[in-house]
């Protein structure tokens, strides 16, 4: 039994079958198959939810290693682990009010917004560095970028509306064309990649190396 379960071939067969049971009913209108594919997707989502235990286990083990070794700054890991436990206790009490809500609004949402909005600093310093007319490509990048930036500043439009058609031309043609090109390129790449996975050629993604028997 264990030999069968260990076999990479069985794993591949299960993978391919699950793929087909989700993929095919999308095209072929047979209610039984469609229902089955929906169930399978839900089952996969439940399996995924269970793996949370593995992730948290590993997180605690890592944190414990730091604390146990008394590595520099171990106190931060101890604090991290405490906060997990604390929040779980809060959640048992209530998930719509009280301390749980406080943590949501005082810690989670501000920190999430920071890491999102901090991108403007990174974009600005990247732009200032990359937009230098070193060669033809960089020059084009610079010209279009500059036009669109100038147009986007809301004040520009009110006093320099002549720029508007050029910027709109760039954003409604080149930008959307690049989006299309990107999607077409990725899609063919993805399907070919998918096929290699199904043919058992991309075994590396299962963690199996060729040398493994």
């Amino acid at each position: 039994m264990s030999e069968i379960l260990k076999s990479r071939t069985l794993q591949m067969v299960v993978l391919v079958l699950s793929f087909l049971f989700v993929f095919v009913p999308y095209f072929i209108d047979v209610k039984v198959l469609t229902d089955f594919s929906t169930q399978l997707i839900t089952i996969a989502a439940i399996i995924s939810a269970f793996t949370l235990v593995l992730a948290v286990y590993s997180q605690f083990r890592r944190g414990y290693t730091f604390v146990h070794r008394r590595s520099r700054g171990w106190i931060f890991k101890a604090y991290m682990m405490t906060s997990i436990v604390l929040m779980l206790i809060f959640a048992v009490y209530s998930q719509t009010s009280g301390p749980y809500n406080w943590v949501m609004y005082a810690i989670i949402t501000p920190l999430s917004s920071v890491n999102y909005s901090i991108l403007v600093f990174y974009m600005a310093s990247t732009g200032a560095r990359a937009f230098r007319a070193r060669n033809g490509r960089a020059l084009l990048l610079l010209i279009t970028g500059f036009i669109v930036l100038f147009y986007q500043a809301p004040f520009t439009g009110a006093f320099f509306p002549q720029l508007t058609p050029y910027s709109l031309y760039i954003t409604s043609t080149l930008v959307s064309a690049a989006g299309r090109m990107f999607l077409i390129s990725v899609t063919v790449g993805a399907i070919v990649f998918g096929m290699r996975v199904l043919m058992g050629k991309e075994t590396s993604i299962l963690g199996a190396a060729k040398e493994e028997k």
Binding site: Y26, F27, I28, D29, A44, I47, S48, A49, T51, L52, L54, A55, V56, S58, Q59, R61, R62, T65, I108, L111, S112, V114, N115, Y116, L119, Y122, M123, S125, T126, G127, R129, A130, F131, L141, A178, F182, L183, I184, S185, V186, V188, G189, A190, I191, V192, F193, G194, M195, R196, V197, M199, K201, E202, S204, I205, L206, G207, A209, E211, E212
Partner: protein, 266 residues
């Protein structure tokens, strides 16, 4: 809505052509992987640079940080492509005895991807005969929240100052945080953007960038197996088909018929 040009009984309306294109592409892959076809592939600098990046880390005695994305939809093709690249990085790291850090997490759906990534890295070290060099602690789980993951990732980069950062797979907006921090600490930065606006920004911030299909094709490109590399030919054929369809469609539409558009929604 445009009326479809044709319908196939038993096939959901509007999905027949998609199915045909899928099946034909799959058959093409099978054909090209049948072996015996010697196909030359243009160099992809971003993929060639991976070896250099790991090599530099080994020389400097510093770690490599590689990630497969936040896997917002679980095992989609971006994540899978990221895992394929991770497998390659893990192999190189294990071979050169370089420490590999793989930040994980970032979404609820990424939970199931984590054990797979762990197995990939563990096996890479096992095969190179250095199982003791692998530690589960080198795949820190940084919660299922996208930006907590980002904060943790950046913290790791700033404290550890790795020699190279190889960030591929299903990264979303946090990719720029990581790429710019990586640039700031002077690491070689290899990235792949999973959508076009991300790619444009990353192209400005990274040393090397994988654009579009270069990431999904990485597994085949990096394997020295000629049959796998031959499958990339199928991608080119489909791009040629798309160009032909666009040109044909434009001419036929200009001539006053929307037959190609109706064909495309069939």
């Amino acid at each position: 809505m445009v009326n479809p040009l044709f319908q196939v009984p038993g096939i959901v309306s509007g999905r027949a052509l998609g199915l045909i294109f899928d099946v034909v592409l799959m058959l093409l892959v099978v054909y090209y992987m049948g072996g015996g076809k010697n196909i030359k592939i243009r160099r992809v600098p971003g993929l060639d640079a991976i070896e250099e990046a790991v090599g530099r880390a080994a020389e400097m005695g510093k770690p490599v940080v590689a990630s497969f994305g936040i896997a917002g939809s679980g095992f989609d093709y971006w994540t899978m492509a990221g895992l394929a690249i991770l497998a390659h990085v893990a192999k190189l790291s294990a071979k050169t005895g370089t420490r590999l850090i793989v930040p994980t997490g970032g979404s609820d759906q990424s939970l199931i991807v984590r054990p797979v990534a762990e197995e990939i890295v563990r096996n890479a070290y096992l095969i190179e005969g250095r199982p003791e060099a692998f530690s589960d602690n080198d795949l820190p789980f940084l919660s299922g929240q996208q930006y907590a993951y980002t904060g943790g990732y950046i913290g790791i980069l700033q404290r550890m100052r790795p020699a190279s950062v190889i960030m591929t797979g299903s990264h979303a907006s946090e990719a720029m945080n990581i790429a710019e921090t990586s640039n700031m600490i002077g690491a070689i930065t290899i990235t792949a953007g999973s959508y076009v606006s991300n790619t444009a920004s990353l192209a400005c911030a990274s040393d090397y960038i994988l654009i579009g299909e270069e990431a999904p094709a990485a597994g085949a490109y990096l394997s020295q197996d000629p049959t796998q590399r031959a499958s990339i030919r199928a991608q080119d054929i489909y791009k040629a088909i798309s160009i032909i369809m666009i040109i044909g469609g434009l001419i036929i539409l200009a001539a006053g018929s929307d037959v190609v558009i109706r064909l495309l929604v069939s």
